[in-house]
Subunit: 405 residues, 2 copies
């Protein structure tokens, strides 16, 4: 029997208990031993809930119990999660977490403690919920140099952008609806400003580069300025707009960014709609691959957590996770990255063509039916720095959206 | 150093050598040891090729060399591959293969020999080329009861059906073009009749059920009867037609089938076009997930083979693969499976409505612009047995295509 403790009895924590109860037989068979939840740590009591008898309020009960081999951390947030997880590892227990903030901030250190003690620190559920992207990078795509990883890593914003695209709704309207349906939080900042996606791409970037990528270094732009007019331009171009979190190799450098981007029909991420998440990977020998699934939700996330518990139980004395060095990776400055841009400009296209071409050279002018008094154009490839310089000289730019190759 | 031998220097075999040469540094780092190709087994010589000095013509040189720890079998076909692989395992070497025919036929036995000897028999590349679906089922989706696995597992037929759908081309035309482009073989039977997809879904079915699923037991229908008219009906219904290889749980039973099917827009497999493959999985707690990538091709397949070599090298004395029992699983007879059907019928819809409704009850009649003298209808849900009975009584049925829920 392998005794485990679950720290946090919120949505994911109760999902973990539910998954282990529902699929116990096959989980035990695959783990090669019976998984037993001995403790659930929470500040609250849950009278009437079968879990009540396992509830403990003090983490030391878990840390000091040598019977506990694996600890599941699903509390979220940096503290006290970080302190608890570190103590558990130091006490010889493997740790499984769904906590992206913790992994993005302290992953290198916690992985290294686990490695030194022949334990495991696993975090499949921290990126893409039920999508097994971490394990794919760790143990499947091992013959490849990963040259690009681009994901739709936030379900709330993808739900909102899908609604805006298909129904022509505007941002505020869609946000309100998403909040009413429980797809967005009352304080939606972490999602709509891209902070959630940013932490996730930081984790993936650290994994593929083998070095710590600080999320604070990643240029991050949310979807709050995306309008229904932008979606009309996207349609005119045969594209859609997605919040992409992306990490690409340029020589020895990595370039990471979170921002809304125009995506062409035919790109594997184009048709990822609603609350679903997906991760596109390009390997130098594998070519293109894509992983798709529920990026959040109680049971999909719990499924990933429990799969990590199974792996930890199968490898109680053997470290299986690739680690990354705590030495920080310098990202390519955003000014030096190259791409094309869709620019929306006020005024009459014909009247202003000369002005535009003087700054941006030969461009493709886009006129959307029903949008009077403005026009759009797609620039040639240039660096973000060049674009910023030109944009500063131009007058009447309404909005700029990056185009994903 | 871990010495390996590659059996077969054809497309995949030369790809394996190329991948190890190209990405040697990162591969060795991930394997935790240097991977060295000591022998390449082939009947031919390759004068001038750097591999020539490693060429051996007799498998015994590999089997009898205790330095060889891992053997890569990429010859294809059942014999002599089966005899060679079995001897290698019995001689204490782990085996990695891309050979779907071998795995579908002898997987249970070879897995069991590997398990007894604490070796590994790995076959990621046998299904879906570069898509890491085997490892996902083996070590990622371990918290789930897999209730459905449905794949587009053959690139040739998917390329052809995509062309027919988007360009309105007919079967013969598209087959010829695919042959001219090298996407289809001169003798295309294994692809277009569904035999290739059938072996792959047999492997996936064995993995998710834990028992041998014989590919001979799987109802298999190819794409040779799909016409451009069928595609027009698909478009009228807002659907497309894909060759689906599918395995679904019904209570204790598994129902497996390979057949062209109508697939609704919005299904994750709908937009998988061209030579790409994809596997859709539904788990009882995970929900929907999808894996997408190059299903064939020299380098993507070699990438999967080499990832297995890395895993075998990391686990030289530890069996890591779930096995399935050689005891055969009885599939649900096709007659008892339930679905809806698109039926194309000759004649005038209004004139024949009574006749159709007498047999099939209330149906949705579909009339396609430009297709005179015929009409279509979608049946209610019924078993294949019921459908066959009704179809035998009906006159003038031009074609029937199953609809995927």
């Amino acid at each position: 029997m392998v005794n485990i403790a679950v720290m946090g009895y919120g949505t994911v924590g109760s999902g973990v208990v539910e998954v282990i109860n529902t699929n116990g037989d096959i989980i035990n068979q695959r783990a090669g031993d019976d998984i037993n939840i001995k403790y659930v740590l929470d500040l609250r009591d849950f009278p009437g809930d079968p879990v009540q008898e396992k509830i403990v309020h003090n983490v030391d009960e878990i840390i000091n119990d040598p019977e506990i081999r694996i600890v599941v951390e699903v509390m979220g947030g940096i503290e006290p999660a970080y302190t608890f997880v570190k103590k558990c590892l130091e006490a010889g227990k493997s740790v499984v977490t769904s906590n992206k903030a913790l992994v993005a901030k302290h992953g290198a250190e916690l992985l290294s403690i686990a490695r030194e003690r022949e334990l495991n620190f696993l975090f499949e559920a921290s990126v893409g919920g039920g999508i097994p992207i971490i394990r794919a990078l760790n143990s499947s795509l091992t013959a490849d140099k990963i040259e690009e990883i681009t994901g739709i890593l936030n379900g709330t914003t993808n739900y909102m952008l899908s609604k805006m695209f298909y129904e022509g709704a505007d941002y505020d309207e869609v946000l309100k609806e998403a909040q009413d349906n429980g797809f967005a939080e009352r304080n939606p900042e972490a999602d709509v400003e891209g902070y959630d996606a940013c932490r996730k791409i930081a984790i993936l970037s650290s994994l593929i580069s083998g070095q710590q990528v600080d999320f604070e270094d990643i240029y991050t732009e949310g979807i709050t300025k995306i309008t229904k007019e932008d979606m009309l331009y996207a349609k005119e171009l045969g594209m859609t707009i997605k919040l992409l979190a992306s990490s690409k190799r340029h020589g020895d450098h990595l370039h990471a960014i979170v921002a809304p981007a125009l995506l062409r029909k035919g790109h594997p991420l184009y048709s990822v709609d609603g609350v679903f998440n997906a991760v596109f990977v390009h390997g130098n020998v594998l070519g293109d691959a894509m992983f798709y699934g529920s990026g959040a939700g109680k049971l999909p996330t719990a499924s990933a957590v429990v799969a990590d518990v199974v792996d930890a139980a199968k490898h109680l004395h053997r470290n299986i996770m690739t680690m990354w060095k705590s030495e920080k990776l310098e990202l390519l400055p955003i000014e030096d990255t190259v791409r094309t841009f869709l620019v929306r400009m006020s005024g009459n296209a014909e009247a202003r063509r000369g002005e535009v071409e003087k700054l941006f050279g030969d461009v493709q002018i886009i006129q959307v039916d029903g949008l009077d008094g403005e026009f759009g154009f797609v620039t040639a490839e240039m660096t973000e720095g060049e674009y910023a310089q030109k944009a500063a000289e131009a007058e009447g730019i309404l909005h700029m959206i990056r185009i994903e190759e």
